[in-house]
């Protein structure tokens, strides 16, 4: 299955204009069968992220005890950030994946979809001429 996602515009307060981002709505849940899902929220497609990151408030809402996860640090552009790792189910186009994702209260967006948990499941084209991102789900045997 493939999906074409137009880049979306976001306000740029510095210029009064806008910038584009490639985003996709996702849900997350505890990895248990039939665990209740989060509401649909917007997550940025971010190949610079080694794995997926979500805001801790969404994690708490699905039942995670954030601070009981594996504490680690990630290196961001503004330095290291403490995060907590948890296994979750991530609802993506083409089906659910289970992945170990980072949770932080300091994340400035709802979620980031990174290399592990997202890009490993899709062929991705960022098309600057059509201003869209094309996703093709990869299903491995």
């Amino acid at each position: 299955m493939s999906l074409k996602l137009p880049y979306l515009k976001y306000p740029d307060a510095r210029t009064g204009g806008f910038f584009y981002a490639a985003v996709i709505p996702v849900h997350i849940a505890l990895p248990a069968q039939n665990a209740p899902r989060s509401k649909r929220f917007e997550a940025n497609i971010d190949s610079g992220a080694s794995f997926c990151h979500f805001h801790s408030q969404i994690g708490r809402a699905i039942g995670l005890e954030i601070e009981k996860g594996v504490e680690t640090e990630t290196q961001g552009i503004s330095g290291p950030t403490k995060i907590f790792l948890h296994d979750i189910s991530l609802y993506l186009p083409g089906g659910i994946v289970t992945t170990c994702a980072g949770f932080s209260d300091r994340l400035p967006v709802s979620g980031l979809l990174g290399m592990t948990g997202f890009f490993e499941h899709f062929k991705v084209i960022f098309d600057p001429t059509a201003l869209r991102c094309e996703l093709e789900r990869i299903f491995r045997a």
């Binding site: 610079g48 809402a61 709802s110």
Partner: protein
């Protein structure tokens, strides 16, 4: 559900985001044409969107100031 927007709809969405409260959470209607709820936290915006009768909102975290993202 993924809403595909072009042209005017995309610009209306941009204006919605400009008008949204900063450093908070907002819920857009299913078709992403209206802000149906907001809240200081994810839980609050979910409660408020349920009160507003919207069962499948799109939740967005708004920043203190909108600017390009690099995490």
């Amino acid at each position: 559900m993924t809403t595909v927007m072009v042209g005017a709809a995309e610009d209306r969405r941009l204006e919605l985001l400009r008008s949204a409260p900063s450093d908070s959470w907002i819920a857009l209607s299913e078709d992403e044409t209206r802000i149906v709820a907001s809240g200081a936290t994810y839980e609050e915006v979910v409660k408020n969107s349920e009160r507003a009768g919207v069962s499948d909102p799109l939740i967005i975290k708004t920043p203190k100031v909108w600017m390009p993202i690099s995490v």
